[in-house]
């Protein structure tokens, strides 16, 4: 249930390659129970510019401490002890199936930030996780990943070595892609997956949309991915078994 609240920046840490991690302390344990897939709409200063909130994507959370870990570009300046205004959680959690033993996370030409929380949760519940990084995603500082993570780099932005094998190995796949090209990337992946499996199982191939979300409540309709589906209410992950491009 989306709420408004105030959090305090507790710690700021640069992790390199243009990224920093910001720990925020939230008021409500309910909010600290935020799940992989959900995000926050944030206003960091008391001004009308920028008018639209930024989307903050948690990469981990600690409900015991009421802490949420956020990843932001290090070009932005954050100082400990500063208030920030949150609206959230926005979106529904990724559906990581109980039966999933092998999880494939694909950051296709786009930073893997939106997959990191899921990566942590999956490893903590003893799944095997492989992360694919292509194009822009290869710049990401992988030292920040838990050591158990298997990482595949590719020279290409659209495919990667042993693409079909990894897709066969995985019980579930989550993929992110850059905004102007996401439909292209998602449909290509859908094609490849359909070539190696007769039909796509439900919840198998999940496209994670990273669209602008001005309101987060289904009011402004700026985040629609189809004529009935909203990133903010029904996403950010959509099952590629059901999408048409």
């Amino acid at each position: 249930m989306i709420r408004e609240s105030i959090a305090i920046i507790e710690r700021v840490r640069r992790i390199g390659a243009g990224w920093q991690q910001v720990s925020i302390a939230v008021e409500e344990t309910a909010l600290a129970n935020i799940q992989p897939g959900q995000s926050l709409l944030v206003r960091t200063h008391n001004s009308w510019e920028p008018y639209l909130r930024s989307i903050w994507v948690p990469i981990d959370a600690d409900p015991a401490q009421n802490l949420i870990e956020i990843e932001r570009p290090d070009s932005e300046t954050y100082l400990p002890d500063v208030d920030i205004h949150l609206l959230g959680p926005v979106g529904i959690p990724f559906s990581l199936q109980k039966s999933t033993k092998n999880l494939l996370l694909i950051a296709q030409d786009f930073p893997p930030t939106r997959l990191r929380f899921l990566l942590n949760v999956a490893l903590r519940s003893q799944r095997a996780v492989t992360v694919v990084l292509t194009g822009e995603a290869k710049k990401y500082p992988v030292a920040a990943f838990p050591t158990e993570t298997e990482i595949i780099y590719s020279d290409d932005t659209q495919t990667w070595p042993s693409q079909k094998e990894t897709l066969l190995w995985a019980d579930q796949v989550f993929v992110v892609a850059p905004i102007p090209f996401y439909e292209l990337y998602f449909s290509q992946l859908q094609q490849v997956a359909l070539e190696i499996r007769h039909a796509l199982p439900e919840n198998y191939l999940n496209a994670v949309y990273d669209l602008p979300m001005p309101c987060g409540t289904g009011a402004c309709m700026a985040c629609m991915v189809s004529s009935r589906q909203y990133t903010c209410l029904d996403g950010p992950a959509f099952d590629l078994a059901k999408m048409r491009f």
Partner: protein, 329 residues
């Protein structure tokens, strides 16, 4: 209770002169129930309703601009029949009155929609949204159609850029109140696709333009004016009332800073009296969280904003700057 329209056959009174404008609440006043205490407000206007269903604009787009944004949605709605089937009961249970907004395109459609709205529980008025190209003849036909279909008080929302041209006409043809104004259109480059996008402009700068028009119209119109555009603080709302508006509508602030909407309703509704300039800081903030409350208790390092006790009176202005005789500066 505040009289929003003049007394007469079609009179509308509300508990609070602050309403939610057409748009942000969609058709469900409960959409923001965790963000805003609706019962603090006067009424909520629904999103635009058409006779037939309308799909959202293909690839709906938002383009940020300084202090605002350009938004293009396409006025999607499932048509009057399905809207009523889905929301009529929700409206009936809403803690504040509901005012459906009719997209005023075809007089025929307007009459048929108005008819369906007549007599619904908790529906206290109709708002008619005029399109940008509407001319005097169109307005007459559209208002006439709405009157044919229903006995509800009729608010007519005019587009900003020709509000001054059309206000008198709309008042003459029977609008019970004028909503000034629908936001202006603009074109901006979408940073994502690199393309030019057309849409309406929302944001803080709407206020100065709209306030000018409200002040201008309030100077000679008898029909009450409901001001709408760029209200982001109690001061903004007060400025409109001071310029002659009877009530205000607020839209984008609902999601840009929801807590502020309640603050405005409280101030403007008379629960709190503060001066626009030199007021003491208001300690009542519905959005004030525990962490911030804790911080408030720390000794403040910043200077007090309380004015010094022996402050002289503000010197009087020798000529009133709001009334410049030359018209082009």
């Amino acid at each position: 209770m505040i009289e929003i329209t003049n007394n007469g056959k079609y009179a509308l009174t509300l508990r609070n002169p602050v309403m939610i404008a057409s748009g942000m609440m969609g058709f469900d006043p409960h959409l923001y129930r965790n963000l805003i205490k609706l019962e603090k407000l006067g009424a909520v206007i629904t999103a635009g309703i058409t006779y037939k269903p309308r799909k959202p604009a293909n690839g709906p787009r938002v383009v940020p601009v300084t202090g605002g944004m350009l938004l293009h949605t396409g006025l999607p709605n499932s048509g009057i029949n399905r809207v009523l089937a889905q929301y009529q009961n929700i409206w009936a249970r809403s803690p504040i009155p509901v005012i459906p907004h009719i997209v005023a395109n075809q007089p025929n459609d307007v009459a048929r929609i108005a008819e369906r709205l007549e007599g619904l529980p908790n529906v206290v008025a109709i708002e008619l949204g005029l399109h940008d190209q509407a001319q005097a003849e169109d307005i007459q036909a559209l208002i006439h159609a709405a009157r044919q279909g229903s006995q509800l008080p009729l608010l007519v929302k005019l587009p900003l850029f020709n509000a001054i041209h059309l206000a008198e006409v709309a008042a003459e043809f029977g609008a019970d109140a004028l909503v000034i104004a629908g936001p202006p259109r603009g074109t901006e480059r979408d940073p994502i696709s690199g393309k030019l996008v057309g849409g309406r402009l929302y944001g803080t700068y709407l206020k100065a333009q709209t306030l000018r028009v409200v002040g201008f119209l309030a100077g000679y119109l008898q029909t009450p004016i409901i001001a709408c555009g760029g209200i982001h603080s109690s001061t903004d709302a007060r400025d409109y009332l001071e310029a002659g508006a009877r009530a205000v509508q607020i839209d984008t602030l609902v999601w840009v800073n929801p807590a502020e909407v309640e603050v405005i309703a409280r101030h403007i509704g008379g629960e709190e009296l503060t001066r626009a300039i030199g007021a003491l800081p208001d300690e009542w903030h519905p959005g004030l969280g525990k962490t911030q409350l804790m911080q408030r208790k720390k000794p403040a390092s910043s200077q007090s904003t309380v004015p010094p006790p022996n402050l002289p009176e503000l010197p009087l202005d020798r000529d009133d700057p709001t009334m410049p005789s030359p018209s082009q500066d």
